[in-house]
Assembly symmetry: C2
Homo-oligomer: 93 residues x 2
Amino acid sequence: MSDLAAALDIVGARWALLVVERLLDGPQRYGDLQRDLGVPTNMLATRLRELEAAGVLTRLPLRHNTRAYALTDRGLALREAIVALGRWGAEQA
Amino acid sequence: MSDLAAALDIVGARWALLVVERLLDGPQRYGDLQRDLGVPTNMLATRLRELEAAGVLTRLPLRHNTRAYALTDRGLALREAIVALGRWGAEQA
DNA sequence: CGTCGCACTTGCATTTTGCAAGTGTGACCG
DNA sequence: CGGTCACACTTGCAAAATGCAAGTGCGACG
């Protein structure tokens, strides 16, 4: 499997990169991600579980039943790729 | 829709970026892509149609019922993003 | 005129995604 | 102490995307 295929295996699923992009601005709560991205709640829950398992993000417990999701170093390392893809997308206007 | 979302709308589908990556090495024929990537033939046909419609690649007629697929400028512009994602994928070893 | 390679298409099973509604839990209000 | 609320999910089911296997069309070549 190529390097690109390995990357897509982790962040190639629908919404995954968009979640990571949102977290580049700092930790976010579940409801914030949901409202900002418009992602279906079950998909968001699934993606967050997968990305946590892949070591891309972690859960930070806040108060009682509230937590925030924050990128790990591995997640932050996606910034370059996300910026590059975003620039490409912007050029298609 | 964000720039990233716009990009993923075009190259976010499964196999799409892998096809583009393969074409960064130069034009390829259908059978070559299929064998090199291990992509199901109907998916490959669908992706090639979509990527052509999006202006990412073009068909170059060779002889009779053979053609090659080549990236357009728009397709070549994905190189930076693909390299960045590939590097990230390599770091996860 | 029959066979071959190439580029697909088609039919159907499996998997992923999406929508809508429901669940659990602790804080806060009266 | 009971009721309501916000938040973070889970669940059930329909729709869409993906994958597998087999089939089609069509020039070239013998």
